[in-house]
């Protein structure tokens, strides 16, 4: 939790410092579940129409819901369709992508320990590769700090589940190996550098 707060504060400060360059094509995300944590927060950069985005996400799972666990992931998302439904409401029916997650936890060893001969366990002890697809609705916001807010539902699976699926075509279905997450993305509004921004910048440096 501390890490999320620190990261957020840091990114906000940075945004003030280099308002125009850093704020462009940036969004923040908060997600529930989705295999990277009970709750996770991320900072994303994307191209002009958010067709392609890349994000850094930190997630945590508290003890009472199956943790304590943490994860840091890099997420790449392709979002090809933007359908304007009504005024400021859009539907983006399908996104696909992948995320690479480094998991942390008391029993999640970064690497296999020295008690094992080389190659004793063949799979990575804490690094998982996930594939996902999602669907989202978004609202363009006429004014304020954010220019757009989006709500998405995402289904993902990981390398070990896929591996389990392929050798068990009778008992394990695609439905069995995909798991859900739901999240929001808030897209920053681009702003020209103003006098006020410079003052805030100096205040921060003091």
């Amino acid at each position: 939790m501390k890490r999320i707060v620190c990261l957020s504060i840091l990114s906000f400060v940075l945004n003030d410092l280099q308002a125009q360059t850093l704020r462009r094509n940036t969004s923040y995300g908060i997600q529930y579940a989705g295999s990277v944590g009970f709750l996770s927060g991320g900072l994303y950069k994307h191209n002009a129409k958010d067709k392609l985005s890349i994000g850094l996400i930190y997630g945590f799972t508290p003890k009472n819901v199956g943790g304590p666990l943490g994860s840091l992931s890099l997420k790449v998302r392709y979002n090809p369709f933007h359908i304007k439904v009504y005024r400021n409401l859009s539907v983006e029916p399908l996104q696909v992508g992948f995320f690479l997650a480094q998991n942390f936890g008391k029993n999640i060893d970064f690497k296999w320990g020295g008690n094992y001969p080389k190659g004793y366990y063949w799979w990575g002890s804490s690094f998982r590769q996930h594939a996902f697809f999602s669907t989202q609705i978004s609202l363009a916001l006429p004014k304020g700090y954010f220019s757009k807010a989006a709500l998405y539902l995402e289904a993902n699976t990981n390398d070990l589940y896929i591996y389990s699926y392929f050798s068990n075509r009778n008992t394990i279905s695609l439905y069995d190996i995909f798991f859900l997450g739901i999240g929001t993305r808030f897209y920053l509004r681009e702003k020209p550098i103003t006098k006020k921004t410079y003052h805030r910048c100096y205040d921060t440096l003091d």
Partner: protein
Amino acid sequence: MPMLHYITSPSLTRFAVGTSFIALAFFTTACDKFEYSPYQTDNSNRPDNLNTKNINELLSSEMESDDTVRFIFTGDSQRFYDELEDLVNKANSLPKIDFLVLAGDISDFGLLQEFIWVNEELEQLNFPYMAVVGNHDLTANGSVIYTSMFGQKNFSFTYKKHKFIFHDTNSREYNFNGSVPNIPWLGAQLRDTSAKWFIGVSHVPPFDFDFDKNLENAYKDQWAADSSFILSLHGHLHAYGDAYIYDDHVRYITTKAVGQKEFMLFELVNGKISKKMIAY
């Protein structure tokens, strides 16, 4: 009717946040498909204390009139869900089976979802099953998951005067710290006067290189010193084996993995062992 005009941003943000929280609250209670982490130790689908519950079910069905213990012995169900389904179907077609023993490596990667998938197959059995912990079950959060879902790693029960001693022999997972297997605990189990015969069930056999070499002698000597200890059952090797390994009266039997599509059917009558290989 007046058209709803462009909604202002604060209310829109509130709407987006509000909607997501309502959706979140709904899904957290209504849906078990939301995964927090592949490594999570708990979810709404996870059963608890299966070994204890299954032992209670077995003991409550115990009949004085029948002194034969009939059980199926298999092991290493790890990532063999299709074959496990076939095993369950075959096992259910056999008459008068009391229970099934799974010799560890329930899961392959120590993940909660794997334990759940395996149990979803094995709970289709017409009789209870008990599973001992394997080395794969102790990777990642597997140890916590096994303990919550199945129970203690060392446990025992007595059925028709035969005491089955399930125990953890996955010494390598504890970096050969000298406490696994727990020799004093095993000794205490043998001092039980309510049982006439004793059977050991564990994953790694004592003659394997994953078993603590410093404990091998103490382990096999303790079994050998007790003439009522008749059988030591193991998995791990994914190979069938049946031999008197050491120069004593104890018979060591290892099972094939679930994926190799053959299990053993044991009949114990007053300490006499008969077994049959059954393909599925």
